[in-house]
Amino acid sequence: MKRLRSRAVAPPLHAQAPSPSDTPAWLSGWLADAFLLRTIPLDHLLPRDGLLPPESLRTFCLDARWLQAFASGALSAGTSLSAEIPFAQAAFPAVFAQAALQAGLVDSPSGGVAPFAAVVSGFLLRSGVVKGWPKMEARAFGANGAPLARVRWDLLADGVMIALFIGQMASFDLLEPAESLHFGLEPEPPVEGQKLLRFIAGPKGGAGVPGETISSAPTVTPVCRGGNGQPGNRGDHGVLRVRDLAGKLGAGLAQAHANQNLDGTPRLFTSAEFALQMVEGVQVVAFDLTAP
């Protein structure tokens, strides 16, 4: 009996700090969704009206401390014994790091448990452009011009898009979706209503990137049925003399040595090359955040 009593006092529990990989996938996955703000209600992201008025764009950085409090609250659920608290405390850094890793916010568990070493930045866009071009693309660049990894680009609410990038954005671009890749004439002066020739192929080592316009080559002016051949003249109904245009484009490319096989012999000019010449690229709108 004596011996029994002498051992009656439980020694304090010192749970071993688990490594991030010990975190169950269901937990880190759930937290990762929250870290990417997927499961955070909109009224918590924007606690008050007026933060994102119509036709506005707001840049932000993610508050890792806020996510830490969120994760702490989440981990508090289902605690029924006081002994579980030290365990949760010990496990927390690993859980946090693993969730950040799963969310793509860190590249690798560097030393295990230092999440959010990099800033996570992004923007919210509320505009009619979201409804009109829901498949537009976004990309961001850091201060040194290096592209930032995009971890989220989603419709957040009706007419609101959210973008999250690893690192501090210095500039970002919004691009028309690739489906908007369309055919037409140059829209901007001084070559409005004309076509700049695009490089197609040539011998190895030759100048020219496929698809890029050849600045040195003369432009081609399409002629419409009933038109006088001047740039911008639409003739009767703006119907192009397609065969005539294809002939001119083919001749222009041949002259610019921009449509050749690897051995320098001329390539065929077919509807594929014609399509490439007639493509008008998608519009890109660049935002520079460092500009004064």
Binding site: P18, C61, S72, A88, Q89, F92, H182, R234, A272, V282
Partner: protein, 526 residues
């Protein structure tokens, strides 16, 4: 019958704007995607010609003599032709398209925007579809000439209204025994010209289709010439970089693209585009270069009826409603709240220190909101969400610790006595979100209990096995030997001692241990 190899596709990445690993998407254009066989009825003929000369059967005399050489004695010759014929058909879309065949339109259906000088196009999911038939009836160009064309109406050329009808409506009158709701008028030409076209197996004059009647002059103005058709269709192969494949909205694959020969004008207005079939109608198309209709072919006709395989409308708008128009408006002077970091507009600064302090808080993303504390006091506290208008310092490993409760992370500005409730709100939101997910909360409870039990067992196990358990078992055995009733109190106190010293979480583990623990205990006791 042999399929010509596809022409070398023109390789291009038309969006090389910057070297971009995130949205690298390559488009490869191809001249055409020729089907192994064009759609239509085929007659397969196999001829076997047999020619032979049989030897003359020898007469009885010769047989007896057996001297006549065979070659000098030719018999009757055979020349016969064995013909084997099979009819078969290659089926394909003809007067209507399944909805899944259409991938995309540009400009988008019902879209509005600045489409000045744009040539509309339609993408088809089946990359060989435009070449499955031909606008030319036979000849060397038939294989490379598509049968589909995109006709664009609007701005001076009134769009005909497409009507729902049946294939029989495209047939000259009297060619089908059925009466159709919209019989082809005598002055309207359609497929087959002056002769009825042949129905393919599996199709009937009753099959639904949509068609439009185009006046001759409009058709002459808009329709491409036969030699222009090949320029207006190509294939497009979309390849995605690895980074994009997961969230790609446009699936990689091969598409066929039909392009219009007409450009949208800057005039605001409504436009309608039709994908029409021109199957074997090359004789009725405008001539190459002159774009005039063949008067002989068109004699007696004033209109043409074409099957509509797809149609969509869009409208030209002012430049503001364009992609760049919208985005440039964000940074324009007329929209002062367009582009900024995510922060509230600070309340009016009246020059007091409190207002200056508040303005600073607002610039850090906070806003001041009414706060009813747990004690029933009404006050005002600062709040902000997870999105900050500035880059916060990185969390270090040391500070990444569990917040034990919502209240533990209240931040207080002692100088002004104002609380920052952002973190407690986040904590509560985390807890409520976890509880809202029944699977997560129950899994978490089980996970924590399991982990704690394991940790406790690791710690208590040696103690139990070395001392506590043998002691308890010895006591139990000792008590069992004695009369149970007399020692009830002693027995109770032993159980109490067990319960007090062994945490609740170990009850199950201990019970499990007790089964084989006796043996274990005996071993330890030795």
């Amino acid at each position: 019958m042999t399929s010509r190899p596809l022409n070398t596709p023109a390789l291009a990445s038309p969006r090389v704007l910057r070297d971009d690993p995130i949205s690298a998407k390559t488009v490869v254009f191809g001249q055409f995607d020729e089907p192994a066989m064009q759609s239509g009825n085929y007659l397969l003929t196999l001829d076997q010609a047999v020619q032979a000369t049989l030897p003359q059967p020898p007469s009885d005399d010769e047989r007896e003599a057996a001297v006549l050489p065979l070659e000098d004695n030719p018999g009757p010759s055979i020349s016969e032709l064995y013909r084997f014929q099979r009819k078969f058909s290659v089926l394909g879309p003809r007067f209507s398209l399944p909805a899944a065949s259409l991938s995309a339109f540009f400009p988008p259906a019902n879209g509005s925007g600045d489409y000045d000088d744009v040539m509309p196009h339609a993408s088809l999911t089946e990359s060989s579809l435009p070449w499955q038939r031909s606008a030319i009836d036979g000849g060397k160009d038939a294989k490379s000439t598509p049968w589909l064309a995109l006709l664009l109406f609007g701005d001076g050329v009134t769009a005909p209204k497409s009507a729902a009808g049946a294939i029989g409506d495209l047939q000259i009158q009297g060619a089908t025994p059925f009466s159709t709701p919209n019989p082809l008028p005598a002055d309207t030409v359609s497929y087959g010209g002056r002769n009825p076209f042949i129905l393919e197996p599996g199709s009937s004059p009753d099959d639904p289709c949509r068609f439009i009647d185009i006046p001759m002059d409009d058709f002459a103005a808009l329709a491409p010439s036969p030699s222009e058709l090949p320029w207006l269709a190509h294939t497009r192969e979309v390849r995605l970089s690895a980074a994009l494949t997961e969230s790609a909205d446009e699936a990689p694959g091969r598409y066929a693209t039909l392009c219009s020969n007409r450009m949208v004008s800057a005039t605001a207005g409504s436009w309608t585009a039709f994908v029409v079939s021109l199957e074997k109608l090359s004789a009725f198309l405008p001539a190459d270069d002159t774009y005039e209709l063949d008067a002989t072919q068109w004699k007696g006709f004033g209109r043409i009826r074409l099957a509509v395989l797809a149609e969509w409308s869009f409208s030209s708008q002012t430049p503001k409603e364009t992609f760049s128009g919208y985005l440039e408006n964000l940074a324009s002077e007329s929209n002062p709240r367009g582009l900024s970091p995510l922060a509230h507009a600070a309340p009016a600064n009246d020059g007091t220190p409190a207002a200056a302090w508040l303005a600073q808080a607002y610039s850090a993303g906070y806003c001041l909101l009414p706060h009813h504390t747990r004690l029933g006091v009404s006050t005002a506290s600062l709040l902000r969400g997870p999105l900050l208008p500035y880059a916060p310092p990185a969390l270090s490993q040391k500070t990444t610790t569990l917040d034990l409760s919502a209240d533990s992370c209240v931040r207080l500005d002692p100088a002004h006595g104002i609380m920052d409730m952002s973190l407690p709100c986040a904590w509560q939101l985390g807890r409520l979100s976890a509880l809202q997910d029944p699977l997560l909360s129950s899994s978490m409870q089980a996970w924590k209990r399991k982990q704690v039990s394991a940790a406790q067992l690791a710690q208590w196990g040696p103690t139990l096995l070395d001392g506590l358990l043998p002691d308890a078992l010895a006591l139990r055995a000792q008590l069992d030997e004695q009369a149970p009733l007399e020692h009830k109190e002693t027995r109770m106190s032993a159980r109490d001692a067990l319960q007090k010293t062994v945490p609740l979480a170990l009850q199950a583990a201990l019970r499990a241990l007790a089964a084989d623990g006796r043996a274990h205990g005996e071993e330890s006791g030795q």
